[in-house]
């Protein structure tokens, strides 16, 4: 079974090329130039975006894209690095979101103090939900994560006043430091984007550190990893917790952006859509999750599709990605780019 799972993992969509490129044996090699150029371009765009007068609608969509992408970076870490997919990620976001909302409603604790609590509890929950993966593999485990979401929704709905039952909970605006008014959409946008950039950088650091290499080794050959002294179970649960931390941050940002949360936000279907976005964008390429979030959030608006049409479009997109572009959209584009560069170089040589 394990050999098959490994082959599966390698062949799963959302993975780009099946190799990990590192140069030096140093702790963290310098990012390649195209990564830096791309990063600076994205950063410049993110800062400039509100100045193009995007209007309330587009700014809201950008914020949604932002916190969704943060959650996706967590999922991508778990899926792309450890090879374990989950359709329970929205549930983990929900742990973060509800932690913040309950702290606000019960104890009057605001965003900044709730932030570490949300991240921590989500990480803890994700680690716990990840435990069965040590015993149960592949599709069975995905079903467990799916059930976790269903259970969470039942628990939240039956939580009485504590969780606000089916109606959910409200929170106030974020108390901004230095008198910054975070109820203002543009300022909320910058806060979410700051968190997004932090997530992006963190992902890069994790993937390219020796820790990332260790995770990679576990995914490629778990028995060998154990045989040279890697505590594989610990590291796997570690990845789940890390992934959960991202989801927790995304969850609290979502809560304070929407100012009202209720159980259906965190059910099985939102989780499915998160999984779908990672597959669409690609889990391995650094900008894959961001691209996935952009596609899914902006497609209805740009394509003029109503929510039903766009969901059908995502589904069809997912089928096409798996059948035609097993590396995800960004992985596919990357492959195209590389083959073009390669052809150009060959042409120059010859």
């Amino acid at each position: 079974m394990s050999a098959d799972q490994r082959r599966d993992a390698v062949a799963m969509p959302g993975f780009s090329a099946n190799t990990r490129k590192t140069g030096s044996s140093g702790w963290l090699e310098r990012p390649p130039l195209d990564h830096i150029v791309m990063g600076v371009a994205i950063l410049a765009f993110l800062i400039a975006f509100p100045f193009f007068n995007p209007g309330y609608r587009f700014l809201s969509l950008a914020i949604t894209t932002g916190f969704t992408a943060i959650a996706l970076y967590g999922l991508a870490l778990q899926f792309g690095q450890a090879g374990i997919m989950s359709v329970g990620h929205a549930g983990i976001m929900g742990i973060g979101g509800y932690t913040a909302a309950i702290l606000a409603n019960q104890l009057g604790i605001g965003f900044w103090l709730a932030l570490p609590a949300s991240i921590l509890l989500s990480a803890l929950a994700a680690g716990l939900v990840g435990l069965p993966s040590l015993r149960v593999g592949g599709q069975h485990y995905i079903i467990i994560t799916f059930c976790f979401c269903a259970l969470l929704v039942i628990a939240l709905t039956n939580g009485g006043d504590f969780t606000g039952a089916a109606t959910g909970l409200d929170v106030g605006p974020i108390a901004g430091p230095f008198g910054i008014n975070l109820a203002k959409l543009r300022n909320m946008y910058y806060l979410v984007m700051l968190a997004l950039v932090v997530s992006l950088v963190l992902t890069y650091v994790i993937v390219h550190s020796p820790y990332g290499r260790t995770l990679w080794a576990i995914r490629e050959n778990e028995p060998l990893a154990r045989a040279v002294g890697i505590n594989t179970n610990f590291h796997k649960i570690g990845v789940f917790a890390l992934s959960g931390a991202f989801a927790g941050a995304a969850g609290i940002l979502q809560t304070y952006y929407l100012r009202h949360i209720s159980p259906p936000l965190y059910g099985a279907f939102p989780s499915l859509y998160l999984a779908l976005m990672v597959m669409l964008g690609g889990a391995r390429p650094l900008y894959g999750p961001l691209l996935g979030a952009i596609i899914v959030t902006f497609l209805p608006e740009v394509g003029g599709l109503d929510p039903i049409d766009s969901r059908i479009a995502y589904g069809v997109g997912l089928l096409l990605v798996i059948l035609l572009l097993p590396a995800g959209v960004s992985g596919g584009l990357l492959g195209l780019y590389r083959s073009m560069i390669g052809r150009q170089r060959r042409a120059e040589k010859g």
Partner: protein, 289 residues
């Protein structure tokens, strides 16, 4: 106790629908290695087809066969156009089935609407047996399921095709070498599992109203049933369905009914962790040895 008995029969009729869908999931997993996430949507489509036919004036029992045929065709098309390409990568097939379930659900919403659909009771009778009131349709649902389970079980254990089928499940390559057309069996099982989902959908709408979202509720119960019994094991699906039915009946009677779904999920997760192969022992998919 009388109330409990009534509750048990009610639960059994619900369990029947879950057993039908669980059997489909289990059969498809056994041969194709894919846990078909869209199977709940297959059932929902079956229910919707039944509704359309009954609304058009067709007798329920004829509409039921219509639903089975329609969903059978759906399964055939899905296998031919999608899942046959992922037979050697079950994980991809599983993820594709998630995409398919999203598509089916939203296509149905678009074609009809989100409002719940129901049909008049096909047989509106109540039998009073020894002080227990039994709703006739529920008993008929249980009876139909018993017949289908028996046919499936004997088909698999006794018939020539069943033996070849089990050979293919345990070792596809060897079965292929012995002249068994494994690919055709995969298609066949996909169709059969889909037909069962269509039947489940028809029986379900005979008991309760359904909505386009019914599939996502049913699939969780289908997973629970097939995983509790052991994926790939038809008898296991029946046992799983009965366990779930009992849990439902007990919780409706003695527990907190609003947590009913949670109980079955917890039972399933606990069983999966303690016995990943399920109560009766399933296969780990066609490729695992």
């Amino acid at each position: 106790m009388d109330i409990f008995l009534q509750q048990l029969i009610n639960s059994l009729s619900v369990a029947s629908v879950t057993i039908l869908i669980g059997m489909g999931i289990t059969l498809i997993f056994g041969l194709a290695g894919i846990v078909n996430f869209a199977h709940g949507e297959f059932l929902m489509v079956g229910g919707m087809v039944t509704w359309l036919l009954v609304m058009a004036g067709v007798n329920f029992f004829i509409a039921m066969f219509g639903a089975m045929a329609a969903v059978g065709v759906l399964g055939y098309v899905a296998e031919r156009t999608l899942f046959r390409f992922t037979l050697n990568r079950p994980m991809n097939g599983f993820i594709m089935s998630i995409g398919l379930s999203v598509i089916l659900q939203n296509v149905v919403i678009k074609a009809l609407n989100e409002v719940q659909k129901s049909i008049p009771d096909p047989i509106a009778k109540v039998w009073a047996i020894g002080g227990v009131d039994i709703i006739a349709m529920r008993a008929i649902v249980v009876a139909i399921t018993v017949v289908v389970v028996a046919i499936t079980y004997f088909g698999i254990t006794r018939s020539r095709y069943g033996v070849a089928l089990r050979a293919s499940v345990s070792d596809q390559d060897t079965a292929a070498l012995m002249g068994i057309p494994v690919r055709r069996y995969v298609t066949g099982v996909f169709i059969y599992g889909s037909v069962l989902a269509g039947l489940g959908g028809a029986l379900m709408i005979a008991l309760f109203p359904i909505t386009p979202f019914t599939g996502s509720v049913v699939i969780i119960r289908g997973f629970a049933v097939s995983l509790i019994g052991g994926l790939g094991n038809v008898g296991g699906a029946v046992v799983g369905g009965l366990v779930l039915g009992l849990v439902d009946a007990l919780s409706a009677q003695y527990g907190y009914p609003q947590w009913t779904d949670a109980y079955s999920l917890v039972v399933m997760i606990v069983i999966l962790i303690l016995r990943p192969q399920g109560l009766l022992g399933g296969t780990l998919g066609p490729r695992a040895t």
